[in-house]
């Protein structure tokens, strides 16, 4: 158990470093840099641009920039934004709460709605209800978040005037963005839960339970659902990545504060230290949540609890 956690944490470190190196290389080799992208065309002379680049260390060879950057990072220093000269870590931390609020609310919506609709649809498979829910699921996974976000604004803000279309102050501004992200997650979880419930109820032990004369309700809720839950929980862990990616779009559409928007601006401005900071943060969060998800299997499945993770079914 402890060995497992230590192993996973070591692997996490590898994942975070790997993603960080990858992002550094991509941004280094992409054309353009932080200086050119913030200066209007022709407002600074070539000499001046060279000076500013030199001041930021952008003219150093690759291995040197790489060494300086990662040397600092391992000492916990993420450096300063190339655009605003603010230190990166406080800048990110300032925006984390807003994104976390959004991600948690939409995960709750996805999990709640997704499991409910998935189970419901599986129990009524083949009927009109099933067909309707499956369409909803398909809608959830296929509609781009920026589109559904704008539709929600048109309906609930412009037409009905119930909810504010923008901002990040208070619970009311959280509802539409988390619904937008929640629709995507609901679609994913719903489809996963539906198919895994269907798989489970075809298994022989369900037939045995029915043959024993157990009520259909008990068969479903006490036995089928519990067995079908593991894939759904795994999906929940992966949903964190989905939420982080979705935050970039949703935070922009709903004019919210958050690290998704910081990331989008930083990529547009080639602000490497800020991009790196956000990537390391979200990679770390992703790894952590998935570790928790793996540990939670033990709560759900007693077989895993007995044999340990990785060796159970």
């Amino acid at each position: 158990m402890l060995k497992f956690i230590v192993f996973r944490l070591a692997a996490s470190l590898f994942v975070i470093c790997g993603s960080s190196v990858l992002v550094f290389c991509i941004l280094y080799w992409l054309p353009g840099d932080a200086v050119l992208s913030r200066l209007a065309l022709g407002t600074a002379s070539p000499e001046r641009i060279a000076e500013i680049r030199h001041g930021l260390g952008l003219d150093a060879p690759f291995y040197q920039q790489f060494g300086v950057y990662f040397g600092r990072m391992f000492r916990g220093d993420f450096g300063e934004s190339l655009v605003s000269a603010e230190p990166v870590l406080p800048k990110i931390m300032e925006h984390v709460p807003a994104t976390l609020a959004l991600a948690l609310t939409s995960t709750a919506i996805s999990a709640g709605l997704g499991v409910l609709l998935g189970v419901w649809s599986a129990f009524h498979r083949g009927g009109a209800v099933d067909a309707a829910v499956r369409i909803v699921g398909l809608f959830g996974v296929s509609m781009p978040a920026f589109w559904s976000g704008i539709m929600l604004i048109l309906l609930f803000s412009v037409r009905l005037g119930w909810l504010p279309p923008m901002g990040s102050d208070g619970v009311r501004t959280l509802i539409l963005p988390s619904l937008t992200l929640g629709i995507v997650g609901t679609g994913l979880i719903l489809r996963m839960v539906r198919s895994s419930v269907l798989d489970t109820i075809r298994e022989p032990f369900i037939v045995t339970l029915r043959a024993k004369g157990l009520s259909e309700r008990a068969v479903m809720y006490r036995h089928a659902l519990r067995n079908a839950l593991i894939p759904a929980v795994t999906m929940l862990g992966m949903l964190v990545g989905e939420m982080m990616a979705g935050a970039v779009v949703v935070e922009t559409v709903f004019a919210r504060q958050g690290i998704g928007r910081v990331l989008a601006d930083a990529i547009a401005g080639k602000d490497l230290p800020v991009v790196q900071g956000v990537v390391v943060f979200s990679a770390g969060l992703y790894v952590l949540v998935n570790l928790l998800v793996d540990l939670s299997y033990m709560l759900i499945d007693p077989r895993i609890r007995r044999t340990g993770i990785g060796r159970g079914t």
């Binding site: 353009g32 000499e47 409910l116 609709l117 309707a132 004019a255 504060q257 910081v262 601006d265």
Partner: protein, 555 residues
């Protein structure tokens, strides 16, 4: 949480989701009906002008992008000027009809050789931090702009002829220029040359952009990144230019700029009353908002250089006038502007925008698209249509690389796509190259035959930047059109102080550029805002920036 609880019954959840689906579709389909129903519920017309202005209230204003910095000397972004115009004042004021009026300077004189400007300053002005405004403060501001460590950009480009400033007496300051400059006085009204508190500039250094301190009608309160910028009334303000009805402190308590990048959300925020005004209304939304009796549309055409396509003459055959004329005649600018901007943007006819000093209206309706003539010109040059319809000469196909930047601002990438279609008809293949890295591709590699550009400016000397051989501060010119005659005209235009003679010079320059097909002017870019009728007397300066001295908000 409550939401989850309520949805515990799967039936309701399903009903909710299907409602969303349905409502989403109907809302998008019925947007025109929507403005009709809204107009029925709107309040009756404006309150009588004779009523006393209402003091108090908060003006919420939706910006399309976030300012990079609120330091006027450093920021080169339009959106930043919209905000800091309310925090800072300038030495002189330019009225909407291009007249220069006193502001922080009460009067001024120019030496006979045009190289020394002496300004008498107001004596009753102080900065938000209590620092007195005087000649010393003005001198420190200009020293700061020209100091390389400030990293000034646009501000510096207005001071190309500036040499030094000196304090004559506590309230008199003198500027010395290297050469006479006709644009100098007018450019002093630019928000980029606004006066910042020298105390704050020293205290915050590069961070002044996050802690702006000026003499303007509003004081800076806070800036929450990606969310809002808040300003409050400067109670001591008593030095607005005569152009305003109210020279004293502003009526509004506070001004809140909300940063709302997504167009649909920005418009939705106005329609749902989250904000009272928004900037950068896309052309396709103007008609619907105009028909909605709750809002007014304010549109200001930018002065300076309109958006124009520069033909790179470094690459053959475009060094030949006939080849360039073929492009000039082959591109149907009217069709482009009408298709993409629904009559909201005006077509540009000259390398200068209408309203800019020196603009020559005689160029209007001059060049008309003529595909047959364009084809003839290319035939004459020996470029004959090949099997695929693309012209060839000596085994080489006639191909153009058209460079445009990412993201697709103002539908400029759509212009590129239409040009591609239009030029195909005359047998020219266009390769579209959309890049984030315009400076590298255009300025350093010259890897383009067509590239669109334009810039806002108050003075026709803005032409120098894009059309003079050495105009682009150390970079080769966009067109590569090395023409001593045009260079000479532009240089004379900069130093000529007699308005009548100057007008002649610039009119000649405009005709010269059009006749030599150096560029193909496309559209005059307007700044379009939509404002709730609860807001009155929102004013704009010559560049279309907000002026809030007289503004009131009704609840």
């Amino acid at each position: 949480m409550t939401l989850l609880k309520r949805n515990r019954n799967p039936m309701t959840a399903f009903a909710l989701v299907s409602l969303l689906l349905f409502a989403g579709c109907s809302a998008s389909a019925g947007s025109s009906a929507e403005s009709g129903s809204a107009s029925a519920s709107a309040e009756p017309g404006r309150s009588a002008a004779s009523q006393a202005p209402i003091s108090g209230g908060d003006l919420t204003y939706g910006l399309a992008t976030s300012p990079d910095s609120l330091d006027p000397h450093v920021s080169g972004l339009d959106v930043a000027s919209r905000v800091f115009r309310s925090i800072y004042d300038s030495l002189v004021f330019l009225t909407e009809d291009n007249q220069i009026k006193p502001w922080l300077a009460s009067e001024w004189s120019v030496s006979p050789d045009g190289k020394r400007y002496t300004f008498k300053l107001r004596q009753d002005v102080k900065f938000h931090d209590g620092t007195p405004f005087n000649a010393e403060a003005v001198k420190k501001n200009f020293d700061r702009i020209v100091d390389p460590s400030t990293e000034a950009s646009i501000a510096l480009s207005y001071l190309t002829q500036y040499e030094s400033s000196e304090v004559v007496d506590p309230y008199t300051v003198r500027f010395n220029l290297k050469k006479p400059s006709a644009a100098f006085l007018r450019n002093l009204s630019q928000p980029s040359l606004a006066i910042v508190s020298p105390t704050a500039a020293e205290k915050y250094g590069k961070q002044l952009g996050q802690h702006p301190v000026g003499t303007g009608p509003f004081r800076f309160v806070k800036w929450e990144e990606n969310s809002e910028i808040k300003l409050e009334r400067n109670p001591d303000y008593n030095w607005a230019p005569d152009a305003f009805d109210n020279q004293g402190k502003p009526y509004l308590d506070t001004v809140t700029f909300k940063i709302i990048p997504e167009e649909a959300t920005r418009i939705g925020s106005l329609q749902s009353g989250q904000v009272l005004a928004i900037e950068t209304v896309p052309a396709q939304n103007v008609a619907a908002l105009k028909n909605d009796s709750r809002f007014t549309i304010a549109s200001h055409d930018a002065l300076g250089l309109p958006f124009a396509l520069f033909i790179n003459e470094r690459q053959a055959p475009w060094n030949d006038l006939k080849a360039r004329q073929a492009l000039q005649l082959g591109i149907d600018v009217d069709a482009i502007v009408k298709t993409l901007y629904f009559g909201v943007y005006k077509r540009a006819w000259s390398p200068l925008a209408p309203g800019t000093f020196g603009y020559d209206p005689a160029l209007e309706n001059g060049i008309q698209s003529d595909k047959e003539k364009a084809k003839r010109l290319l035939d004459e040059l020996g470029w004959k249509p090949g099997k695929d319809g693309i012209r060839e000469k000596d085994g080489k196909k006639l191909t153009i690389r058209y460079v445009e930047s990412i993201p697709n601002k103002d539908k400029k990438q759509d212009i590129a796509a239409i040009v591609q279609q239009q030029l195909k008809e005359i047998g020219v293949a266009v390769e579209l190259h959309f890049t984030k890295d315009v400076s590298q591709v255009v300025l350093m590699d010259h890897a383009y035959e067509l590239f669109g550009g334009g810039t806002a400016g108050l003075d026709p000397s803005a032409l120098t930047t894009f059309y003079h051989t050495h105009g682009l501060t150390g970079w080769p010119s966009l067109s590569g059109f090395d023409d001593p005659k045009l260079d000479e005209l532009l240089e004379r235009g900069e130093t000529e102080l007699d308005d009548a003679k100057r007008l002649e010079i610039y009119q000649e320059a405009q005709h010269y550029i059009v006749d030599h097909a150096v560029t193909i002017p496309i559209y005059v870019s307007p700044s379009i805002s939509a404002v709730s009728k609860k807001v009155e007397n929102l004013k704009y300066d010559a560049l279309g920036y907000l002026l809030l001295h007289d503004t009131t908000v009704r609840n």
